[in-house]
């Protein structure tokens, strides 16, 4: 244990220099850990948004359900989607099944008609498992959105909730009467009069300009859908089992396609890739800064101790032990830097979260969010291990330099 003790004493010998080097390591830890916590918040928000935005944990669809637009209404639908939903609700792993119909058509206010993308949902089940009421609450703040409410569970009610952009383009507001037009499964033109009961803000401008939501009963009448459903959104009791349940349910339902939410949430995947690229590059730069700073410190320390190393070698210290000595110094710097960095991260995270800072709306979205940097022990561990490895690498060159010193020359060194 003499080498670790010697390494520790050597670091304490040059307290100021060691402190400066530690500050670099701490800053690296802090930056990477906070960035990791911010990324975790973003990913969590995006995954919640995707799952509670309608995807559920799993989507069950007909074969070909992912092959783009349908030439005919409900062309690639589950023919008896309602019966399948009933069957799936019996599964012990399933919390709920939410059937949906996706359709297109024209929405008319009389003088003006606009194309829409419609989703039909079960008005009673949807608010229990999805975030539809949140988007409705946000839509109520838009012009004409006052008095917004969710769709009535009464199957005879003919109501619609419009995206804020779609309502604006038609000059519609809560209480307006509009006409939905689309084609039935047989290709016949059909229309249903509906009352606007609410506006919704989906968070994405392009969506708000096109989307509307109606009840399954309204869509079934408009499209003559019968029991056919475009997709079933499956909410699992244990979200962590999504991948395993996807495989199990796919085996159980061979005539359908079962997809997990993360394969369908393209925005989530794109943002994740983008963040990994940005923060990965930032991490690389930070690791490089730490590497150079600590290598410089250790190299300076070696140059100042040439004679001392000569004496140690003369006394019988093997060259590899000298290499170990420098590795111990790197190890202590990394350990102390990570511990201090962790303390600084926890403090700064608590401070920043307590400020309830509002972040600006991300590109393509319509509202900001509150900064809530997550506590992610796995990220802290990964950063600590990465920094430790960086410190060990940075100690390698000075260690090799020390180990290669010729003893007689080192003893003469002034």
């Amino acid at each position: 244990m003499i080498l670790p003790r010697l390494a520790l004493r050597n670091l304490l010998r040059q307290r100021r220099r060691t402190a400066l080097t530690l500050m670099v390591v701490v800053a690296g830890f802090l930056a990477l850990s906070l960035a990791g916590g911010f990324m975790a918040q973003t990913f969590q928000g995006l995954s919640d948004g995707a799952i509670r935005g309608g995807l559920g944990h799993l989507q069950v669809m007909a074969p070909g359900g992912l092959e783009g637009d349908e030439a005919q209404t409900l062309e690639r639908s589950l023919p008896d989607g309602e019966a399948l939903a009933v069957r799936l609700r019996q599964d012990p792993a399933v919390a709920e099944v939410l059937p949906r119909i996706q359709f297109m058509g024209l929405l008319s206010s009389g003088p003006k008609s606009v194309a829409f993308l419609g989703t039909a949902v079960d008005p009673a089940l949807e608010p229990k498992h999805m975030a539809c009421l949140d988007s409705l609450k946000d839509g109520a703040k838009a012009p004409g959105g006052a008095g917004s409410r969710w769709l009535s569970a009464d199957p005879s009610a003919r109501e619609v909730i419009l995206g804020t952009g779609l309502a604006r383009s038609l000059g519609a507001s809560v209480g307006s009467l509009l006409t939905l037009m689309s084609t039935t499964r047989d290709g016949a033109l059909n229309a249903v009069d509906v009352e606007v009961v609410g506006l919704q803000d989906q968070g994405l401008r392009e969506l708000n300009d096109r989307v509307l939501t109606v009840s399954l009963a309204t869509a079934a009448q408009l499209l003559d859908a019968g029991p056919a459903r475009s997709r079933l959104s499956v909410v699992l009791k244990r979200p962590g089992d999504t991948a395993a349940e996807q495989a199990r349910l796919q085996a159980l339902l061979p005539d359908t396609i079962v997809k997990p939410w993360f394969e369908l949430a393209s925005f989530y995947r794109q943002v994740k890739l983008l963040y990994f690229a940005i923060f990965g590059f930032m991490g690389l730069v930070l690791f490089l800064v730490v590497l150079l700073a600590t290598a410089n410190t250790l190299l300076m320390s070696v140059m100042e101790r040439v004679r001392e190393f000569g004496v140690l070698r003369a006394m019988g210290l093997q060259a590899r032990q000298l290499l170990s000595l420098l590795q111990w110094e790197g190890a202590f710097l990394g350990l102390a830097g990570s511990l201090l960095g962790l303390a600084a991260t926890l403090l700064l995270r608590a401070g920043l979260n307590a400020l309830h800072l509002q972040m600006p709306a991300p590109p393509g979205t319509s509202h900001g969010y509150e900064l809530d940097i997550h506590l992610v022990p796995a990220v802290y561990l990964a950063v600590a291990l990465g920094l430790q490895a960086t410190l060990q690498v940075s100690a390698l060159f000075p260690g090799l330099k020390a180990a290669k010193l010729r003893i007689v020359e080192a003893l003469r060194h002034v």
Binding site: I2, L12, R13, E308, G316, L317, Q318, A319, Q321, L411
Partner: protein, 222 residues
């Protein structure tokens, strides 16, 4: 105990050929031998060759009857650790360690348990009269005390041979003489062999054997 046979080690110094050339000498166990001569005569070079810190171009170093100069570096390193001790002109104690920890260092490098190393290092420091300075760092010791701590460090592993390079050069006369008396006592008492490089008359006066060097050659031997 120590035998140098026709040792040659040449190097360039300021454009001229320097080093030691064809030196042979023998130092028996328990002897306090001195390599004497002016600066540049080759004393330190010869001491480094005898201490296995450098390799001769020609010739052979024998320790306790065994040829050791051609051994690979790890084996020479092991010999230095277990059978040799070094004392330097500038003391060269490890500045971040106390006197006791400095003396424990070679023992711990040998793999001795901390308790045993502490006991033996404490005894060595006691023998050189530093029992009241065990926990002082080098910066808190006088020059004479530092050199005695260095001798304790060299003696703690109980080596066959201690090599000392100008051990009194950084000390005044009041400390140099007693230091050599101490070495002579230790040689007699423990059978440790000392090979000292020095041009100090006080050191030469206390030697059992004196080898005089001039221009890298042995000009006078006992």
């Amino acid at each position: 105990m120590l035998e140098l046979r026709a040792i040659t080690r040449a190097y360039e110094l300021g454009g001229e050929r320097a080093g030691v050339f064809g030196v042979s000498l023998e130092v028996p166990r328990g002897c306090l031998a001195v390599l004497a001569g002016p600066s540049g005569s080759g004393k330190t070079t010869l001491l480094q060759l005898a201490g296995l810190l450098d390799s001769p171009d020609e010739g052979e170093v024998r320790l306790d009857g065994q040829s050791v100069s051609s051994l690979p570096e790890p084996a020479r390193c092991g010999l230095r650790l277990r059978r040799l001790g070094f004392v330097f002109q500038a003391f060269n104690l490890v500045p971040v360690l106390t006197a006791l920890e400095n003396a424990m260092l070679p023992l711990q490098l040998q793999g001795l348990a901390e308790g045993e190393a502490r006991r033996r290092a404490g005894a060595a420091l006691d023998r050189v009269g530093l029992s009241d300075r065990l926990h002082h760092r080098p910066g808190q010791l006088s020059g004479g005390q530092q050199q005695r701590a260095a001798i304790a460090r060299a003696l703690a592993p109980d080596p066959l041979l201690v090599l000392a390079d100008e051990p009194t050069a950084s000390l005044d006369h009041a400390h140099g003489g007693p230091l050599m008396d101490l070495m002579a006592e230790l040689a007699a008492e423990r059978g440790t062999t000392f090979l000292v490089a020095s041009h100090d008359p006080a050191v030469i006066a206390r030697a059992h054997r004196v080898f005089r060097l001039a221009d890298g050659r042995l000009v006078e031997a006992p």
